[in-house]
C-alpha cells in the first residue's frame, strides 16, 4: 500500500523527501562497496526480481493470499544498501507507470519502504545473527524475525507521519492499533514467505546470500593419507 499524493501535508512530504534523498545518496555509495562496478546490472536485475515477485501471490491461509513486499528479504540476499536502491527503483516505477503512490509522496514511500522496512528488517537480522547460533536455522530465524518486524515498523512509522502531517484529526491510538494489528498479520505472512524463499536460495547457492557470509566455509579438501602400499609383489 503506497501513500498517494495529498495524504500528508507539505512540510512532512518535503521532510521525508529530504530523508529519502539522503538515504538514496548514502545507498549509492554503500552499494558500490557491496557490488563494486557491478552495481548497475546486479541491482537492476534484483529490482526486476523484486518487481516480479511482488506480482506473485502467496497463500497466507484461510483462503486469502498476499504478496511479498521484500525489503527485508532483499537486504538479507544482496545487502542493505543495494536493497534500498532496489526498493527505490521499484517504487519509482510503480509511481510513474502505474500511478501507485503519488509523485509528490515518493519521498514518503521511499522513506517508509526503503529506509524503515530495510533498516528495521536488516537491523533486527544483524542483531539476532550476533546472538543466534551460526547455523542455517539461525540465519533463517533472524531473517524471519527481521522480515516480520519490518512490516509493522513501516506501518507505525506511517501512523507517526500521519500524526505529524496528516490532514485529519484522528485519535492516534485507534489508528495505531488498527494499522499495527493488520500489519502484524501481514508481517507474519511476509516472514513466512521470506523464510521459504531464503531457505531455497541457501540450499542451492548459499554463496549468493549476503547475510549468510558467515556460513560460508572453504570446501573441506583435507589431504587424505596416502593409501597403504598393498601392491602386488
Amino acid at each position: 500500500m503506497h501513500v498517494p499524493d495529498g495524504f500528508l501535508d507539505a512540510p512532512t512530504s518535503v521532510a521525508t523527501g529530504v530523508v529519502a534523498a539522503g538515504t538514496v545518496a548514502l545507498a549509492l555509495r554503500g552499494a558500490r562497496r557491496e557490488l563494486d562496478e557491478r552495481t548497475a546490472p546486479l541491482a537492476g536485475l534484483t529490482a526486476a526480481f523484486v518487481f516480479a515477485v511482488q506480482m506473485m501471490n502467496f497463500p497466507v491461509g484461510a483462503g486469502t493470499s498476499g504478496h511479498l513486499i521484500g525489503g527485508a528479504l532483499t537486504a538479507v540476499l544482496v545487502g542493505p544498501w543495494t536493497a534500498v536502491l532496489c526498493m527505490t527503483v521499484v517504487l519509482l516505477v510503480q509511481a510513474l507507470l502505474f500511478a501507485d503512490g503519488g509523485l509528490t509522496a515518493l519521498g514518503t514511500n521511499v522513506s517508509l519502504m526503503g529506509l524503515v522496512a530495510v533498516g528495521v528488517g536488516y537491523g533486527a537480522f544483524r542483531l539476532l545473527r550476533a546472538v543466534l547460533p551460526r547455523t542455517r536455522t539461525g540465519v533463517l530465524t533472524a531473517a524471519g524475525i527481521g522480515a516480520f518486524l519490518s512490516v509493522p515498523a513501516s506501518a507505525l512509522t506511517f501512523v507517526g507521519l500521519f500524526a505529524l502531517g496528516g490532514v485529519a484529526d484522528v485519535p492516534l491510538g485507534t489508528v495505531a492499533t488498527a494499522m499495527g494489528g493488520i500489519h502484524v498479520l501481514i508481517g507474519l505472512g511476509e516472514a513466512a514467505i521470506s523464510v521459504a524463499v531464503l531457505g531455497a536460495v541457501l540450499a542451492v547457492r548459499p554463496d549468493l546470500v549476503h547475510g549468510a557470509a558467515a556460513l560460508r566455509r572453504p570446501a573441506d579438501l583435507a589431504r587424505r593419507s596416502a593409501p597403504a602400499e598393498v601392491g602386488v609383489r
Partner: protein, 260 residues
C-alpha cells in the same frame, strides 16, 4: 501480458501520435509533477476547494482527451487507489470533532471534509500520472529522468530493470505454467513449500543473469557509464505546451486563493 510488444511494463503505454505523445519526456515529467504539486497545495478546508478540484478535473480530462487516452484506460488506472478509498472511508467514522448525521450514521465533519479532500487529490494525481504513463514509453521515461539529473547509477539500475522486468516476469510465468500443468493449486499455507523455492530460484536466475549481463557489457567496453547521444535542444514552444497543464491548474488555485 507478455504477448506483443512491451510486456508487463509496456502495458501502461497506449500507442498514438498526439501532441502529448510527441512531447519530450522530461517536460511531461515536470508537467505532471507540477500539476500534482498544485493539487496537493490546495487547502482542504477552503470553501472553494471543491470548485478548484472540479477545475483540475476538467483540465486533466481535457489533457487526456487531447492525448487520446480513453475513459476506460483512465478508470483502470484508478484501481490502484482502492486501499486508500477504504482508509478514507474510515476517516469520517473515527475522526474527532463535531458530528453530523448522514443516513443514520454519526460522522465527524472534519473527517468527512478530510476524506473527501484526500480522495479528490489522490484521484486527480492518479489521473495525471495515468495520462503520463499512457503517452510515454518506459525507456523514454528513463531518458526523461536522466535529463532531469537523476543520479547516473540510479538511471542505469532503472534501465536494467526495465530491460529485464519482462524476462524475469516471463520466467515467473513459465514456472507457474509448469507448476499448474502438474496439478499444483496453491490455496493453503502448505503451498509455500512449492512457491518459496520457485521465488528462490527466480532470484538465483535473476542474479546469475545479472552477472552474465555484466560480463557481456565488460567485454563490450563498459566502464561504468552508459554512452548517450547529445541531448536534443527543447524549443520554448514545447515547454509552453507541456507547462500548460500545471500553469492552468496554478491559475485555478490562484483564483481560488484570491477570490475565495
Amino acid at each position: 501480458m507478455g504477448a506483443g510488444h512491451g510486456g508487463v511494463l509496456g502495458a501502461a503505454y497506449v500507442a498514438g501520435d498526439s501532441p502529448a505523445h510527441r512531447l519530450e519526456p522530461h517536460l511531461k515529467l515536470v508537467a505532471v509533477l507540477g500539476f500534482a504539486l498544485v493539487v496537493v497545495a490546495t487547502p482542504v478546508h477552503a470553501p472553494w476547494a471543491w470548485a478548484a478540484y472540479g477545475g483540475y478535473l476538467a483540465l486533466v480530462l481535457g489533457v487526456a482527451a487531447v492525448a487520446g487516452v480513453r475513459p476506460g484506460r483512465l478508470a483502470r488506472g484508478l484501481v490502484v487507489e482502492v486501499p486508500f478509498v477504504v482508509f478514507a472511508l474510515l476517516l469520517p467514522v473515527v475522526a474527532r470533532g463535531p458530528r453530523v448525521d448522514v443516513l443514520g450514521l454519526s460522522l465527524s465533519e472534519s473527517g468527512l471534509a478530510a476524506a473527501g479532500g484526500l480522495l479528490a487529490k489522490a484521484t486527480l494525481s492518479v489521473l495525471a500520472a495515468t495520462v503520463l504513463a499512457a503517452t510515454t514509453q518506459p525507456r523514454e521515461l528513463v531518458r526523461g529522468l536522466e535529463r532531469l539529473r537523476l543520479p547516473s547509477v540510479l538511471v542505469q539500475i532503472l534501465m536494467f530493470m526495465f530491460r529485464y522486468a519482462d524476462v524475469v516476469g516471463g520466467e515467473l510465468r513459465r514456472m507457474r505454467v509448469a507448476r499448474e500443468s502438474r496439478g499444483f493449486r496453491g490455496r493453503h499455507v502448505g503451498a509455500l513449500r512449492v512457491l518459496g523455492p520457485a521465488a528462490g530460484s527466480l532470484f538465483i536466475r535473476s542474479y546469475e543473469r545479472g552477472e552474465r549481463v555484466h560480463l557481456a557489457m565488460l567485454s563490450r567496453g563498459y566502464t561504468g557509464r552508459m554512452p548517450s547521444g547529445p541531448a536534443a535542444v527543447v524549443p520554448a514552444q514545447a515547454w509552453l505546451t507541456a507547462l500548460a497543464l500545471p500553469l492552468a491548474a496554478g491559475a485555478v488555485l490562484a483564483s481560488g486563493l484570491l477570490l475565495g
